[in-house]
Symmetry: C2
Subunit: 264 residues, 2 copies
């Protein structure tokens, strides 16, 4: 459940996050500003992961990759410090979730490379602008995310299954949602699946692997988008020595406007 | 000037290219099939170049990156062999164009990584389908390409200026060309410039840096798109020990259909 008002202004929000005083999901906050997923890896893994992203652009659309050792995403958010500016992080050691923390100062190393990956929160504003209601925002929850049975295209040390986010819609709205999100290829784009969750290996919609469960109303169809939490499923399968990520739903808020990523 | 008929079927065309019997520009051949630019680098440069492509998606939209040492683009054209299947290659040694060759068997090394980069030939078919005429195809020439004064976003060892391809259109057609090519973000997408060439550092349209000159008729506006020959300008500036590329206009013909890369 949210404890902060979504009306917080951006400066205030960022200041609270940096001071570990805002530690919840950023969904619905700072509307219009692009939020991104985070993956941090030692340089030894960076080439394989960069290639993994190139081969899996629907789940891992790269917004920016930092220079080695720099915690500053200089191209999209030059004042940010990736060690502090997300509300919550996850530390994966050899594929095991070891810890959740509110900053990663203690984990920082000079050989780390940070990957900023597009997030579906970007197209949620476009969906709302088109009159569609986003259930998890309505219900003040984090978006539900599921590990599917769809294998990603492997690259070097990295392999694993696709993670999807789910939003329920009536049929006509689901169709409109396909149209609207197709215009945002660099933030996951169009859905990867629509309808029967079993077909992609999801057996129980009320038990998401990440995030919260939301209500599926009578007549609604679940619509599934590739999700930037996929690298966390990949970490579990591929077991790199260290992978630091955002906690699902707890994103970096960049300086770039969502509309920047829209085609047409 | 073309010497082969554009009506050659794909099997025949590929067979001729593999046997070094087709050595001209592939522009206008195999309509509907995606053609790609090629960059081959030793593994030591691969991370920096992959990052360069990520930071410069308009000029270097990656279609595929091969596994280290493999000349086979297994995801898009699994029967192809990148050592033989382009009509002409360029060998850059420390930034100097050392040689043009029709196959690169003699240059192959076990540590080479190949980058397939989207090509504007893909959207040319869409332009033609929209009733626009492509001057360099009309005039049976290679597309004119120019090195601009626009710096690319650097990455590690790689920096240099953007290369653009140019097509002249009347104003109404230029507007339509922007609309049509916007739908193809993964093959350079919308133009980077329209009108006055001087504004992007091009002083003489009749002297392209790559390809052929084409006629600019009264009332026509030159329209400029980011070009996959940019890595060759980058090679000249960055001077890697070895970079093998396609010769401008002499592309790999993949199995993927152009329409695959269209948004909406």
């Amino acid at each position: 459940m949210k404890t902060m008002s979504r009306k917080l202004n951006l400066v205030e929000l960022r200041s609270l996050i940096r001071r570990n005083q805002f530690t919840q999901s950023t969904s619905g906050f700072a509307p219009g500003h692009t939020q991104v997923n985070l993956v941090i890896l030692p340089k030894a893994y960076a080439y394989d992961f960069l290639l993994f992203c190139q081969r899996n652009p629907k789940s891992c659309p790269l917004i920016e990759v930092t220079d080695i050792g720099s915690p500053v995403p200089k191209l999209t958010t030059p004042h940010a410090d990736l060690r502090f500016d997300l509300p919550k992080y996850r530390i994966y050691k050899k594929g095991i979730l070891a810890e959740e923390v509110h900053d990663i100062e203690a984990y920082w190393q000079e050989d780390l490379v940070s990957f900023l990956i597009g997030c579906s929160f970007t197209f949620e504003q476009a969906l709302i602008d088109n009159g569609l209601s986003i259930r998890h925002i309505e219900e003040d929850r984090n978006v539900p995310m599921y590990i599917t049975n769809i294998p990603c295209e492997p690259a070097g040390a990295f392999q694993g299954n696709l993670v999807v986010s789910m939003r329920p819609f009536l049929a006509a709205d689901a169709i409109r949602a396909v149209e609207v999100t197709s215009r945002f290829p660099s933030v996951h784009g169009s859905p990867v699946h629509i309808g029967n969750p079993e077909q992609i290996g999801i057996h129980n919609l009320s038990q998401p692997d990440f995030g919260d469960t939301v209500t599926l109303k009578d007549g609604e169809i679940p619509v599934f988008w590739a999700c930037g939490v996929t690298p966390q499923s990949v970490a579990m399968s591929s077991k790199p020595d260290l992978m630091i990520t955002h906690a699902p739903g707890h994103m970096l808020i960049t300086d770039v406007k969502d509309s920047h990523y829209s085609i047409l």
